[in-house]
Amino acid sequence: MRGSRTAVRRPSRARARGATIAAFAVLAATVPAAAGAAGTREVDTELPYVCAFPSGQRPATVRISAAFPDRVAAGEPIRPADVTTTVTFPAEAVADLAATGAAEVRAGTRLTVAVAQHDATAEATWRGTAQPVALAPSGPLTLTATGDVPTVTGRSAGELTLSAADLAVDLALDTADGSAADPAARTVTCALAEDAADHGLLAAVPVGPDPGGTDGSPSASPSPSDAPERQDGGEPADRQRERAPRVGGDAPGGTAARPDAPPCRYDARYPAGPMSLNAYITGYANVRKLKGAALIPLTCTLIEQGEPEFEFYPDFSGGTITQRSTGDLYNGGRTWSPPFEATFLTFGFTPTTATMVLEQTGPLTIDSLGATDYVFTSTDTYVRVPLVLRVTSLTVNGTPLDVGPSCRTEKPLASPEPDPAHHPGDHLVLHGRGEQVTGEPATGYLLLSGGPLTGEVSIPAFTGCGAGGENLDRLLTASVSGPGNYVKQTQGQTCYVAADVPNPDECTTDLQPLRIPVPER
């Protein structure tokens, strides 16, 4: 699933020009409304991998356990259950991590799973989150990650196979006193070793009726259009089509239909207060120089709702509404986005894949300014947040380049600021407008219920990129940095976590946002 179209400014429509920049999407994960009637079987496979560390390529073992249905009907989703991905890095690799000053590691895994049925193929990403583990000064390091994974649906009868492929391990590194190590984050990319048994096969699930012995009629001849499809009813996952990435739809009707999303909850490090909300945000950020867009994946945002203030006009014909809320990105215990990958053609011809995170470097504020005359009510909301773009791994023309531990923009991304006197410094500004004609539903961006937020941002020069004498700052600055990059993010419905009775239409039972926004162009 690659996306090559850029986010568009309405009403004009930018045209896609080939696969200039492809944002990798999270394959939509939805939980089937009802469990399949068939039995399940457990799979527990240990596979050899080779992982790229600063000190070189190191072997690693990856153990994957999951439960798959014995058989499903055509069109019935396969939902792997109880998925655990256990990664063991060797002692040499651990020494690399310990050299950063890290004493504790929090990890997320992104396992690419190749799905095939007949000639049709698709890819799913199995995401997992590991509990924090102490980094021992010597010996191997084992990370055990769990998480819900996407469903896969075979559109026709025949065996559907799922095989483990590339693995990315996103590491957040903390020092003994709880502060961030330097670097604070690292992405370790791993490839399945060539000698892996059955090319990483995890499971082969029969799709269609049980032939019941020798009388089984042969299944229909395979067709190239029989691509497995995602549960959310999206398009067949045919990579040749270069379709825009799509993340699962807004799923009404309870947690059973909630698409997969990273954790988004208050915790001991970030406790909830009486006005605490949480919400997801996702969308596209154009990279103008590359004529493409990167998908910023579902990012958890914790929001402290400000009290709305109302001031009557002197003649009481209406009034103004102001509301200042604050918040933080909060993913894996840190104020940053989840890692995201983008592939683009540097200088128009060199395929380059970068893994990045957006790291919040100051307060996030949400200012809503509104007015009503009781006939028409509107609010303009400005979200401001300083964000540094970090690059954690880079592959150019198939060759991994070591970007080093501190490859980042030299200062935060900067938007034109409508009120610079009150909001100095470089930061991203996103604007959303909500409107309501009295008697009609409210439309547009509404703080509590989300909606589209747009802005424009300059990407500063990169610094600290490269290792071993190779300086990659210029490459990244020349190919990425520059002004006029359009950003469109969509916020989902918030969950008010401190409610006496949390709203079941807005919150999961464990007080995460129920509603998953869909990125829009």
């Binding site: 009486p274 709702q305 008697g439 509404l446 509590l448």
Partner: protein
């Protein structure tokens, strides 16, 4: 000292009686017998057009429903119906404001009270209103009554509260948008049917 006092009382009583007699011919005699047909009957009501709740800023509900029982009554005012359940918005179509989605949870029973009747239209109010309204961390409770009319020819209960009918009993997290000084309003039409039928119930007030 006792005599003048007693005389004064008599005079005041006469004045009040005279006032009553003088005013009565100018309007219908207030109904004291309320004939509901059928009675008793279970009814359902669904919004006809959008419902608007306003507490400085407006909120719109595109769906709202109520149910309960209605029955003949005597007196003035008289409770002609009990609202045993009332909903505002739904999972698929929540009520909205410029702050975002708004959830309104009623504490029933509410009442429908008749005060006056003329030409097939009962004038009165929806009484015993009690509802908790939530917009994110802004939570407030509305209590009181909402002026309303019921028209026999259409079966429309038209709720059109005026400032002062409803009050905010408590508010938290709402800043100055909603305080206990805020005077909320509740406006919208409901189409009433006898449960399970398309029959429009009627209310007739009389003064035998």
């Amino acid at each position: 000292m006792k005599k003048p006092s007693r005389r004064t009382a008599v005079v005041l009583g006469a004045a009040a009686a005279a006032f009553g007699i003088a005013v009565a011919p100018a309007s219908a005699v207030p109904s004291t017998v309320w004939t509901v047909t059928p009675s008793p009957a279970a009814y359902t009501a669904a919004n006809s057009g959008n419902i608007v709740l306003t507490a400085n800023i407006p909120m719109t509900c595109t769906t709202s429903a109520a149910s309960g029982t209605m029955q003949s009554a005597t007196g003035n005012p008289a409770t002609v119906a009990s609202i045993d359940a009332v909903t505002f918005g739904s999972s698929a179509a929540p009520c909205t404001s410029v702050l975002g989605n708004v959830t309104t949870v009623a504490t029933p029973p509410w009442t429908v009270v008749g005060e006056d009747y003329a030409a097939g239209v009962t004038t009165g109010y929806v009484g015993n209103v009690n509802a908790k309204v939530t917009a994110g961390a802004c939570v407030f409770t509305v209590t009181g009554k909402a002026s309303a009319t019921y028209t026999n020819s259409t079966g429309i209960l038209a709720v059109n509260s005026v400032s002062g009918d409803l009050a905010v009993a408590s508010a938290s997290g709402c800043g100055t948008v909603v305080t206990t000084s805020t005077k909320p309003t509740f406006k919208g039409n409901y189409a009433v049917k006898v449960s399970g039928t398309s029959t429009i119930p009627t209310i007739v007030g009389s003064n035998p």
